[in-house]
Amino acid sequence: MNQTPNMQARQTSRLSRLVNIGVPYFWLGLFFLLPFVIVLQISLSEPALAQPPYRLLWEWVEEGLLQIQINLQNFMLIWEDDIYLYAFLNSLWVALVCTLICLLLGYPMAYAIATARERHRIPLLMLIILPFWTSFLIRVYAWIGILNTNGLLNHFLLWLGVIDTPLQILHTQTAVYIGVVYSYLPFMILPLYANLTRLDPTLLEAAADLGCRPLRAFMRVTLPLSMPGIVAGSMLVFIPVVGEFVIPDLLGSPGSLMVGKLMWTEFFSNKDWPLASALAIVLLGLLVIPFVLMQRLQQNLDEGRT
């Protein structure tokens, strides 16, 4: 009642700040932390022939006595059986190779769009975004039709006379790389484009005035300044590709074992939700590492700039 208007204003601003911070935290808690806790809890439980097919961690044994049983066997199995290690390493390797190819293809494309005339940029960007209007799954299926031994690519190459017998590309590791690079290339191009358009062209002019050749100017000025774009694009490609399931399943060979497929097997064929969850937790742990590295890099860049 006896508050001064000033105090009231301060209080409402504190309230609005609380809401501003609270909403994102609430969002993260509900849609990240809670699911994570659920998955973690399943990963520490035991499979059972029930609905759902695992035993809860806690159990009321008798009145007032709560028994909690934690099962670490799932993580031990992942540690002991080298098939899981192999799948993790293979997934990381596939993701790394695909990220590099996406970067090599995506950078020139993003650069070309960013330096194109203003009125050409939107149509060019549309060409990148347009494939998203078709379902991802259908686009991967389309690659089956293209890469098949009876498919478009082989017919074309045979017609050209480059090859005599159809190439077996579908169901090989190459097909996985093609599918992944095709599907994830836009995720590399878009952040790079956003970064490259914001670069100050006068910096390059200054470099030229000071006698720097275009290639050297690119290496010394554009490339370092586009580092945040490169990092963002690489993360957007790398992280989802590690857990990719659909593309290796549809295009890949039985030998290209990736974690996503392994999780599918544990979840569906084995009804072993606890082990599938444990794999998900380990994968999450592994993916935190590149994130930390990225943050370090970003920090270094920021410090270097100031």
Partner: protein
């Protein structure tokens, strides 16, 4: 009261106008079916709707595992499902996932093949939960011309050796060999080829089978449970380990396409899996009455014969056999003659731990590790 119901109607009308069609269509009775892909005839669903007034909504799967995962997760929303009896439906009965059937709502149960009913009795005593839908075998689908070109006209085609004998498989690898992505099926086939009990869990037997599969691995193009249908039909595969009706569907598609691809189905002489797919109602089915109506509809000999004519699987309805196309009745792949049928065996139930071990062994084999 009248006023109230009227106001409800107006409200519903207003809402349905607001949101469009969905609201209106929810008012009619529905039955949610979850079945294998390509496992009904084209007119099966429309026939049921015009007969009963209930609107059937169909979702499809291509492996028992996917169905099973949804069942175990709970609240799948399906009223009627079509799992394979062994080991899947047997396990689901144990886990209490099914609702007991009301036999009084199912006229025509007495027309079902007593042999098949007897074999289901073991997993479903008293037939409380399951009604058989179709049965078939798991054998070998072939591109006849290409296989003969690779192995010679005289070569025996009714043998697992096409897949497991490196000498033969290496000649066929170029035009493509595919195996089902199913540990139980592949191990059963490998054990049968080795002349051992296909249901064996003996460590030495499994090791021998897994060595056999390992030896064949370089010649196998992929492991998949439905892709081979279109690949066989298009001539992209030479040999496919697959379900009888699926291979015969590929055969029909190849004939339709008229590109000269000739598909054949063989039951290997070393033995092959005989399976039965059944109908069951999940315990949490939203509309079990409609599910009963649908089972009763499928018990109609004309309806089930129409489906068999379309999907190339044998049905257990004895009254329907005379209604089948002669081509089907005489096809040894669909109704095998007694001397071939003697080679067929059923899969036995296994414990969860054994299945997991087998599946992990399978994962390792597929990845060639």
């Amino acid at each position: 009261m009248r006023f109230l119901s009227m106001s409800h109607q107006t409200l519903a009308l207003a809402l349905s106008l607001l949101i469009g069609v969905p609201f209106a269509s929810q008012a009619e009775e529905q039955v949610h079916l979850y079945n294998w892909s390509d496992y009904f005839a084209e007119d099966t669903l429309s026939g049921f709707e015009s007969r009963s007034g209930i609107h059937p909504v169909l979702d499809v799967y291509d492996s028992n595992e996917v169905l099973e995962a949804k069942l175990f997760a709970g609240s799948s929303g399906y009223d009627l499902i079509f799992p394979t009896a062994r080991p899947f439906a047997a396990r689901h009965i144990k886990a209490g996932l099914y609702r007991p059937l009301d036999a009084s709502a199912l006229a025509g149960l007495d027309r079902l093949d007593p042999d098949i009913m007897k074999s289901l009795e073991e997993i479903d005593p008293g037939h409380r939960y399951l009604v058989p839908y179709m049965w078939g075998s798991t054998g070998i689908g072939l591109n006849l011309k290409k296989v003969r070109a690779a192995l010679g006209d005289e070569a025996a085609l009714d043998t697992w050796g096409l897949v497991f004998d490196p000498d033969k498989a290496s000649k066929l690898a170029g035009c493509g060999i595919a195996l089902l992505d199913d540990a139980t099926e592949v191990f059963a086939a490998a054990l049968a080829y080795l002349g051992k009990d296909p249901n064996s869990l003996d460590k030495e037997d499994l090791a021998a089978a897994s060595d056999l599969i390992k030896g064949a691995h370089p010649y196998i193009r992929y492991f998949h449970s439905s892709q081979y249908i279109s690949d066989l039909a298009n001539g992209d595969l030479c040999v496919a380990h697959g379900y009888s009706g699926d291979v015969l569907q590929a055969k029909a598609r190849a004939e339709e396409a008229g590109k000269g691809v000739e598909v054949g189905y063989r039951i290997p002489r070393e033995g092959a899996v005989l399976w039965t797919d059944v109908m069951a109602i999940p315990s949490d089915a939203p509309n079990p009455a409609a599910a009963h109506a649908f089972i009763a509809y499928l018990l109609d000999p004309e309806v089930i014969a129409g489906i068999s004519n379309y999907v190339y699987y044998a049905n257990p309805n004895l009254a329907a056999t005379s209604l089948l196309d002669a081509e089907l009745r005489k096809d040894p792949g669909i109704y095998p003659p007694p001397e071939v049928k003697a080679h067929l065996f059923t899969l036995k139930e296994r414990g969860d731990r054994e299945i997991r071990n087998l599946n992990r062994l399978w994962t390792r084999l597929k990845a060639d590790r």
